[in-house]
Every structure is written in C-alpha cells, then in structure tokens.
Amino acid sequence: MPEFILEARQIACYRDERTLFSCLNFHLHSGQILLIEGVNGAGKTSLLRILTGLRQPDEGELFWNDESIQDLAAAFYRDVAYIGHNNGLKDTLTAQENLQYAQALAVPTLSIDEALQQVQLNGYQNTPVRYLSAGQRRRLALARLLCTHKTLWILDEPYTSLDKSSIQMVEQLIAAHVKQGRMVVMTSHHETHLPAPLVQKIELRR
C-alpha cells in the first residue's frame, strides 16, 4: 500500500488584516483523520480551502508526499476530493447524471449503483436532484467520493443537515476509507464517534 503524507509548514492565513491562524504545522499520514475544530469565524473553511489548493496560504507551504502542492498543481487533484458548503450538484440533473459527470472527471471505482447503495440512496438514480431533501443531497455528494478513486477526502461540515443514522453511516464510510490506508481532513461542529487513535485534532481559536 503506498504511503501518503500531507504536511503543512508554517501556514498562515489573514483576512482583513486579522490573523485567522499562523504558524500552523501538521503531518497527516495514510490511515489518519485530521479533525479541525473551532468556533464560527475561526477560519476552518479558509484552512480547508488552503488545503485544497483553491486558496493560497498567506505564509508557509503545503506538501503532498514531500512535493509542494503549488508545484504539483493539477497532479495534486488526482488524489484529492473536496466537498464544501455547497454540494456541487446540478439541480436539474438526476442523481445518476451528477455522478456520471463526477466519474468522467476522475478515475472511477465503485459503480454508481453501488455508491448510491452505500449512502442509502438506492432507487433515486433517476430522480432530479431538486426533488431530493437537503440531507439526501449531502449524501449524494458523499456518493461522489465513493464512486471516484481519491486518496485524500477534504470535507467541510460533512454532517450538515444529516439525521442521526446518516451521521453514523458517514462515520462508518470515513472509518472504512481511512482503514484502506487513505486519509480524511474534515471540520465538524458535531460530536464525532470516529476511531479515536486515528484522529488528530486541530483547534482554531480566535
């Protein structure tokens, strides 16, 4: 199993001359989960967007397997999947069409039916996304992760609008993903029941 390392060196982020965080360092290895905690406005989403490479850190650098992600550029995205506040789904397309599009942009793994089964959306293949509830959309976005081959999942509040049993299901999916020697970075307000020895925590304070 190939070993992956995500490393942050002296990352800093400023907004409106306010320091959200600075001198942030961490190492994340295969099989680990990084949980980012903090109050509203502490910079959790900003940090995640920096980790995805969508936003540049104001100071410091990020390394993926000892290569700067700025140098890796598009090659970094072969391994990374991101779910932000928005699910990135198209309302007028069906669940299946949304996943087909995601698969075409990446390396497919699970079939669409299997992925939908895992997030308990079986039978919704041909339902346009606008008829799905908020929680179902969130689960469909997670199905996108399952049907493409990605090493690092970056999840911004994955539990938003999910009910208790769905949260449990997502936790199991995350644990299974990590067990395969991959990694997850996530933020959450909720109490999590992830396998404790694998979890690293970063708390951002204002």
């Binding site: 969508l54 990135g88 397309l93 087909q100 990446a106």
Partner: protein, 224 residues
C-alpha cells in the same frame, strides 16, 4: 484519453442542462428575432435603406443576444460549487474551460446562425451577401463566447456583474465587428471579401488559442 472523456463530459453536461432549462436556450434566440423585427417597424417604408443596413442590424443583434446569455456560462456553476469540482480535476483547466465555451457556442450561437437566413430574407438581403454574412457570423460568434468567457470569469465574484460585463466586453468585440461589416460591405459592392475573411479567421484562431488560459486563471482567482 481520460482528458477526452472529461472534455466530452463537460460539453454533454452543459447541453443537457440547457435542454432541461429550455428558457436559457430560447431567450437569446427570441431576443435576437425581436430586436431585428423592430427595425423594419421603426424605419417605416424604406426597403432600400433596410436592405443596406440589414447586415449591421443582424450583427449588432447577434452580439447583444450573445451577451445576454454570457453570464450563464459560469454563474450557476460558481453558485452551486460545481466550478470547484471542475478546477479540482487532474486535467488542464483551460481545456475544460474550452469545452464549456464550445458548449456555450453550440447553445447560444448555433440557433442564431440557423435563424439568420430567414431573418436576412425578411430584411430583403441578397443571397450572396447573406452567404458572406453567415460566414462572418460563423467565424465571429465563437470569438464572442471566447472573449466573453474571460470577462465572465473575472466578474464572477462580484455578484451582479451584468452591466460591468457589457462595459468590459463590448469594446473587445469592436475589431471583429469592423472586419465583419467590412466583409459584408465589400460583398454588397461586389468586391472580393477574402482579405476581410482572412482577418476574421486570424482573430478566431488567435482567440481560440489565447483566451482559455487567462479564463482559467481568472476562474481560479474568483474562487480563491
């Protein structure tokens, strides 16, 4: 190979979306037809004048119609987060951007091109002039989409960028409009048009190769 699959998937998805949102498809076309139809009404009984200015009417109407549909190019993708997904692929973003622009051209310009012969006949244009006009539209409309894409990508983060978009983009359309109307003018007076058409082709190929890259950069800037 995977790039080809991704390229095709982007086009396919945008065509499918437009098909489901048929108003986006029909609005620019209806706008184009309405604007052109208003001219004979406003000019009164002047068939010769109308025939003379018909190419200009059609070009300006096509330009405005294309501008009307321009914002949809990245806006909804930006709002629902699918733009982030498109940026976060291992493929070169500029090529996926090109795929989106091709889809936009297919959906906004091809219907106008198909409508133009009827409109031109209505305005009393001669067939040979109409053929030249169609050629200039065929070369020029993709340029509209390609240049417009940069401006749309730049104004994404600004919320309501509608008016700003027009101010940014319309001056950049001027060179193409000049050569297009030059070609049609030459055709009307029976002069050779190849010079103008060569210039138009040059503009087309220059924008085709040069604009996807800055568009991709502008998109990344809008997202960060």
């Amino acid at each position: 190979m995977t790039l080809l699959i991704a390229f095709a998937a982007v086009i396919r998805r945008d065509v499918l979306l437009a098909y489901r949102h048929s108003s986006e498809l029909i609005n620019p076309l209806a706008f184009f037809v309405m604007v052109v139809t208003l001219f004979p009404l406003a000019l009164g009984a002047e068939p010769l004048l109308l025939k003379r200015i018909a190419p200009a009417i059609i070009w300006v109407a096509a330009l405005l119609a294309s501008l009307l549909s321009m914002e949809t190019l990245f806006k909804s993708d930006f709002e629902d987060g699918s733009l982030e997904l498109m940026v976060m692929t291992p493929h070169p973003l500029s090529l996926l951007v090109l795929a989106k622009v091709i889809a936009h051209w297919l959906l906004s310009s091809v219907p106008l091109l198909l409508m133009t012969p009827f409109i031109a006949t209505m305005l009393g244009m001669d067939t040979d002039v109409m053929m030249v006009l169609l050629t200039t539209l065929l070369l020029g409309m993709p340029v509209l989409s390609l240049i417009g894409a940069i401006a749309v990508a730049l104004t994404l983060g600004l919320g309501k960028g509608g008016a700003l978009l027009a101010v940014l983009v319309l001056p950049l359309y001027v060179p193409m409009l000049i050569f297009a109307s030059g070609a049609v003018d030459a055709a009307t007076s029976g002069l050779p048009v190849s010079g103008h058409l060569s210039m138009l082709s040059a503009i087309f190929f220059a924008t085709l190769t040069l604009t996807p890259l800055p568009t991709a950069v502008a998109l990344k800037m809008s997202l960060s």
